[in-house]
Amino acid sequence: RAEPVQLKLATFGPPNSYFYVEVLIPWLEAVNRDSNGAVNIKYYGGGVLGNAGNMYDAVLTGAADIGWALPGTVPGKFVKTSVAELPFGYDSGEIGATALWRLFAKGVIASDFSDVKLFGLTAWPGADIQTKSKKVERLEDLKGLKIRAQGRWQTATVTAFGATPVYVPIDEVYQGLDRGVIDGVWGSLVLTREFRVDEIAHYFLEAPLNGGSGMLIMKRESYDKLPAAAKAAMEKNSGEAMSRALGKSNDGEVKRVEALLADLAKKGKIDAPYTLTPDEFARWRKAAEPVEEAWTKGVPDGAAILAAFRAEAASVKSGAGQ
């Protein structure tokens, strides 16, 4: 029988990050097993084959065969997929990831993926607002605050809400917040935990603000050349179920951080995390409308894509199509 095809699966974050351990590595093991020796995928963590900024290119140029990449780092290519980066798009990672996959499966955003074979998508939990010394409860509270934001749609949203967006490299967020270069961070609790924002910030407003996506991909031509047994094993383990698992993995991490924050709050070290009142929530959604308009105007079929994403998210939330 033929030797197994050797493939390298690359990630860029800390090699033991939760969703690598919970989803990506089990995926790799399942594919290896189900292919009956047609393929042998090996895991390369820690960014040795590509980093957050260049993983898409690393996959296209053959440094990695399969890569975990961020569509947001290739904004010229993943125009439609950036719908996930708008505020108030989805309530949880599971909803966002499943809805995004369905958009792909129905062809709504498929043109973004013309050069790659897509195995699974994730959606990062929507950004929360984590501030050091000012509790943000009303829209007006954001005025004059310097908030760390990243990427086009976070920056646009922070601006639309009246705060000042400031970019600080992620590994300087801790120091920046501590010293006061920034007053707060626009990011999900997943980020809180990874960069220890909880050691500095006191107030944690949980809201489904700007999200984002991640993808497990392979260069299309390389995928097409794989033996049928390998492709079948990959197909079997990929798609909506995998995307849902990726989103759920994010939600699990959020729950762990929430438990951590609850514990800190009990000890009196931080204020208990809170959410917006319904009235305030409605005002924030209204304030986000210009951002949505800017997005729909800039993307071909933007309005239809956004509507479809909202509809899929609602449908996933209500449990349809499970």
Binding site: P14, N54, P75, G76, D171, E194, E199
Partner: protein, 642 residues
């Protein structure tokens, strides 16, 4: 013509070389003036943000991509003036004739590297253009910038072609002068044969050898050519690429090297480096450095080695606000070296002291590398910062003691001892107001939260420039001299980084660290032995990897192993970071040492610097031993936290 014996071709080459240096100089001026403009713009942005809450949107991402072009524009002057790091321990026994041929070989290798890089950068830019890549926030099209980078790298290839022709002509014409042909042959011929054999084995049999043997062979393939004065960056690039291409093929290897190099050219962490070099250059031109050292001399001149100790103190002070070793070495190095040399300190002591002192930038909190460790191990950044305080104090004290011991046995290495009268001390204090303002504003600005440590590079460079301008110290040649130095040093560092990228990629592919650690785990050794072995692995990795890459590929599995032996992860973090920082100063790949080499200028051999570092390396080993023997040095302070 008559009597020189030179045929016409070399004369033509002389003209060509002159023209290419002139061209490179012009490009460098554009680069550094651009860098200066960006610094001033960053200062405006910080002012707008702080006072009016209206920063310039997207300036940071524009800075990143513009800096990629600026840094590439610094490369031609480095190429044209042959500003490479070589290990020249054997220059004398090798002799001029062999030396000329070896230089030509080195030149050909650089030419090959720059040509391939230019072609692949072109492909990269082409891909960006085809998919209309834009920056995230302000939607700046990226392709034009990468085309500019490609063009500049292509200019490098052309200029290197001229350099190579010149080297080749020189080798052909080199007389047999001296009796060293035979001794030279005893070194050169075996080294060339060994290199050829190593490459042949790697390329034709590497597949079957397994990661450990392959890595060992590639390591040797990097080292052996260093003996015969092949530039360090070149030796690393070729050895790394040969090893990697065995594992993933040539195309994937070269594409990765280009991708990662592109990342290095535009990474915020690294683009501050030229800015810190510029800050040091302008501060020296403005006379601020001599002011500072006049004061240090007045205060500490009565003690032998006092200035060197004061330099360690400045590194510590600077390290207390920035998080980077390289920034500290670049800033303090540019200022301290000329001053210490002027006051009679030996090159070895002066360079060794600044190279080692630079590591205090990462050892004293805040520290970028500690943040990365904390992220990788899910420990508290705050606790690591606190835990690092006493070990950092220990490091500084040990460096001071090293200097005291060194000058005791080699009194001639330090300048003459001199008791400065009180009147002069007071005058020196008053004269150093400029230094206080410059460093006060940088240190104070970070501390007060007006700007980040990354932005501090731009602020410092801008302030130092304005100072020099206001003091009228940039007239005539002075401005161009600073520019030339900044560009050449930037080029020196980046030409090395290309090599580091290639070799790091290869080591990552072999998964050598994982293999070694797994092997250690199977031995069932006593915990202390395991810890010492792990430290040895870190020191070994320090030979060819930068600290951040090293942490990323090792900590996730070394951390749990050490914790499972019953050790505290915070303590292990402090030990690991100390070991990894040693890598910045030990040969042959020590970025701090190379930066100091750039600042010290061509006449100082890298070997001299590494020799100067040896006593400080000993201090580092003593510190590591103390940290392992007495974990409380790291754990006592965090234990007192609530």
């Amino acid at each position: 013509m008559i009597g020189t014996g030179s045929p016409e071709a070399p004369l033509l080459l002389e003209d060509l070389e002159r023209a290419s240096i002139a061209l490179a100089r012009r490009v460098a001026v554009v680069a550094v003036v651009g860098m200066l403009a960006l610094s001033l713009l960053t200062m405006v942005d910080i002012g707008l943000r702080f006072f009016l809450n209206t920063p310039i949107t997207g300036l940071d991402e524009a800075t990143q991509i513009i800096m990629a072009v600026i840094i590439s524009a610094s490369l031609p002057i480095g190429i044209a003036t042959r500003n490479h790091v070589t290990i020249d321990f054997f220059r004398r026994p090798i002799g001029p004739r062999w030396g000329a041929w070896l230089e030509a070989i080195g030149g050909a290798l650089v030419l090959g590297m720059m040509t391939v890089l230019a072609l692949r950068f072109g492909a990269y830019a082409g891909r960006m253009m085809a998919r209309h890549d834009v920056s995230a926030i302000v939607q700046l099209p990226l392709a034009p910038f990468w085309w500019a980078v490609t063009a500049l790298v292509a200019v490098c290839a052309v200029l290197q072609g001229v350099v190579f022709l010149k080297q080749f002509a020189k080798a052909l014409g080199a007389g047999s002068g001296g009796a060293s042909i035979l001794t030279g042959a005893l070194i050169v011929v075996p080294a060339l044969a060994a290199t050829a054999t190593l490459y042949a084995v790697i390329l034709y049999a590497g597949d079957a050898l397994g990661p450990v043997v392959l890595a060992a062979l590639a390591f040797a393939a990097m080292w052996v050519p260093l003996v015969i004065m092949i530039p360090v960056g070149v030796a690393m690039t070729y050895a790394g690429m040969a090893g990697a291409s065995v594992l993933v093929g040539y195309d994937a290897t070269i594409n990765t090297v280009v991708l990662q190099s592109a990342g290095f050219l535009s990474s915020l962490n690294l683009v501050v480096l030229p800015l810190f070099l510029m800050k040091g250059g302008f501060a020296t031109a403005a006379g601020l450095s001599s002011d500072a050292y006049r004061l240090a001399h007045a205060l500490f001149g009565r003690r032998r080695g006092g200035l060197a100790m004061a330099t360690i103190g400045s590194c510590a002070a600077f390290g207390a606000v920035t998080g980077s070793s390289l920034a500290t070495a670049a800033t303090i190095g540019a200022i301290a070296l000329p001053e210490m040399r002027r006051r009679g300190y030996s090159v070895q002591l002066a360079t060794g002291c600044v190279a080692a002192g630079g590591t205090l930038g990462s050892l004293i909190p805040p520290s970028g590398i500690m943040v990365i460790y904390a992220v990788l191990t899910e420990t508290s950044i705050g606790k690591i910062f606190v835990a690092a305080v006493l070990p950092a104090v220990l490091a500084a004290v040990l460096y001071g003691a090293t200097i005291a011991l060194y000058v005791r046995f080699r009194p001639e290495a330090a300048g003459p001892v001199e008791r400065v009268p009180g009147r002069e001390i007071v005058a020196a204090v008053f004269n150093s107001w400029g230094v206080v303002v410059l460093f006060g504003s940088v240190i104070g600005g970070i501390y007060a939260g007006i700007f980040t440590a990354t932005e501090a590079g731009a602020v410092g460079a801008g302030f130092a420039f304005l100072f020099a301008l206001a003091r009228g110290r940039l007239k005539g040649d002075a401005f161009w001299r600073v520019i030339g130095d900044v560009a050449r040093n930037t080029a020196l560092i980046y030409l090395l980084l290309f090599g580091a990228v290639a070799f790091s990629f290869f080591i990552g592919l072999t998964q050598l660290p994982q293999v070694l650690v797994a092997f250690i785990e199977t031995l069932n050794l006593a915990p202390l032995v395991v810890v010492v072995l792990l430290l040895l692995i870190y020191l070994l990795l320090g030979f060819f990897m930068d600290p951040i890459t090293t942490l990323f590929i090792t900590v996730p599995f070394v951390g749990p192993l050490v914790t499972s032996l019953g050790y505290d992860p915070i303590w292990w973090g402090i030990v690991t970071i100390a070991a990894v920082e040693v890598g910045l100063i030990h040969p042959p790949f020590g970025l701090n040492a190379f930066i100091i080499k750039g600042v010290a200028g061509e006449e100082v051999a890298i070997g001299t610097i590494f020799r100067g570092i040896v006593p400080f390396l000993c201090a580092d080993f003593v510190k590591l031993a103390l940290l392992i023997g007495f974990p409380l040095i790291a754990l006592w302070l965090p234990g007192t936290m609530r």
